[in-house]
């Protein structure tokens, strides 16, 4: 048994009240709890206050509005992937929700929690005893990085399944805090630092995810060891040009703290450019050179899928 340390718990009804509570150090928002509770059991952090999103109405519901789909951050991945408009107009998002963990976890986990997911590393996401035996790392309490001992940074990876698809669909995230409301493109949400990976403050509450309903052709692919439970070894989304003259684009993730955007004039060139632009590290399940090669393969497969669906529809 991995007991949780004690904490206080509050369930406000408004996002701005949640933000006020999150301004205190050691406070965390709990949405589905599927990553937060695991991290707390592993003592990656020990919040003194948990603020529940459970009763906040403005974080719920899926509603179309003026060419956009507005998805409440508290909607579960199961609800998002089953929504009629998501299935018809945003199939890459539906597919991405369905590759997260397992169906049971998809019924608990929220889309907001997926966008805000902590970066991951095989030396960090481990039980407290495991980390103590090896010696702590930079991301928590230690002074070295076990992945790159000579480096100064943390390379823990952005591993959230829905991020590449939402990025290429042009999604925007709406945040509420005591200082007001702002919208940030999903493509502007992440930083190149595994310890400090978000461009928003800890007291900003993600309330809604707005996705334009533009019928962009986007394909999502996830490479993993088992077809359930596992995080990605390589995560990619590819978008076909919306108009003549625009480039093909790929977002490659799960290989660095920040997803990588790659653009190519031609469909054929995209896979090679993505391969050259990614520097994955070795994990306990897969070597770095194999993961790098698989970036090329997965991007090529996504491009193929889009070309085939175009040929089919046109």
């Amino acid at each position: 048994m991995l007991p949780l340390a004690h904490f206080e718990y509050l369930a406000p009804t408004e996002a701005v009240e949640a933000s006020r509570l999150l301004a205190s150090p050691d406070a965390r928002l709990v949405a589905g709890g599927t990553d937060l509770l695991v991290s707390m059991k592993h003592r990656l952090f020990e919040p003194r206050l948990l603020v529940s999103a459970r009763r906040i109405a403005e974080m719920q519901g899926i509603v179309p509005a003026a060419g956009w789909l507005s998805i409440g951050a508290s909607c579960t991945l199961r609800d998002v992937s089953r929504h009629g408009i998501v299935q018809q107009r945003l199939p890459a998002l539906a597919a991405a929700c369905r590759t997260v963990a397992t169906p049971t976890i998809q019924a608990m986990a929220t889309l907001g929690g997926n966008l805000m997911l902590d970066t991951r590393c095989m030396y960090y996401n481990q039980p407290a005893g495991w980390r103590a035996s090896l010696g702590y790392c930079l991301k928590r309490e230690g002074s070295v990085c076990h992945v790159a001992p000579k480096g100064r940074g943390c390379y823990a990876t952005q591993a959230a399944d829905t991020v590449p698809a939402l990025w290429l669909l042009g999604a925007e995230a709406e945040f509420v805090s005591v200082s007001g409301t702002r919208r940030i493109r999903v493509s502007d949400l992440y930083r190149e630092d595994g310890m400090n990976w978000l461009t928003v403050r800890p007291d900003e509450v993600l309330t809604r995810i707005h996705v334009p309903l533009e019928d962009r052709s986007v394909a999502h692919r996830k490479l993993r060891t088992r077809q359930a439970i596992d995080y990605a070894q390589v995560l990619v989304a590819v978008a076909a040009p919306a108009q003549r003259g625009e480039p093909w684009s790929a977002v490659v993730s799960s290989v660095a703290p920040r997803p990588i955007l790659v653009e190519s004039e031609t469909a054929e060139g995209l896979a090679e450019l993505s391969f050259r632009g990614s520097q994955p590290l070795s994990t306990h399940l897969a070597s770095a050179p194999w993961r790098k090669k698989m970036v090329r393969v997965e991007v090529a497969r996504a491009v193929d899928a889009l070309l085939r669906s175009h040929a089919g529809s046109g």
Binding site: M1, L2, P3, L4, A5, H6, F7, E8, Y9, L10, A11, V30, G33, T34, L37, V38, K41, H42, L50, S52, R54, R78, A101, T102, P103, T104, I105, A107, M108, Q227, A228, I229
Partner: protein
């Protein structure tokens, strides 16, 4: 001040009202406080599915759910399974799909929620749903056979 919560939930149809520490997981509430030990402690961190229960009909991992987060909800554990779920339990029994039995309660609740949602669940749907539950004994073949039979008996019922 707020490190305790007054929790009101339905567990297997009975109303439960308790003062609990905010840090209580749903699994510990069930096993330690209510002595419903059918839901198992496997990995304790969301990997294995041995702790699967249903909350308002949907599957949920009790080990990574705070009891406080199911305030007002209706929880079903294996102890609350009866004639309605008998077709699943009987199929597992018939195919000897349970050896040590540790994964079985979670599998019953996972399948019950699948079939309630999709009476005509096909092979792909069954495999996808059972991806949530790890079994270290059976090798899955028997569990899949039992699930197929349960699906067939359900859709013909």
């Amino acid at each position: 001040m707020s490190d305790e919560v007054v929790l009101t939930v339905q567990v297997n149809g009975e109303r439960v009202r308790r003062l609990i520490p905010a840090s209580r997981t749903l699994l510990d509430l069930l096993r330690e406080d209510l002595r419903l030990t059918g839901s198992k402690h496997g990995c304790d961190v969301g990997d294995c599915g041995a702790c699967t229960v249903r909350v308002d009909g949907l599957p949920r991992l009790a080990c990574i759910t705070l009891a406080a987060e199911v305030q007002g909800a209706s929880v079903q554990t294996i102890e609350g399974c009866g004639s309605k779920e008998a077709y699943i339990v009987d199929a597992l029994d018939k195919h000897v799909a349970s050896q040590c039995g540790y994964c079985t309660p979670g599998i019953v609740l996972c399948l019950a929620s699948l079939f309630d949602d999709q009476a005509d669940a096909d092979e792909a749907a069954i495999r996808e749903a059972l991806g949530s539950n790890i079994c270290r004994c059976t090798g899955y073949t028997k569990i899949l056979a039992a699930a197929r039979e349960a699906a067939a008996s359900r859709s013909s019922a």
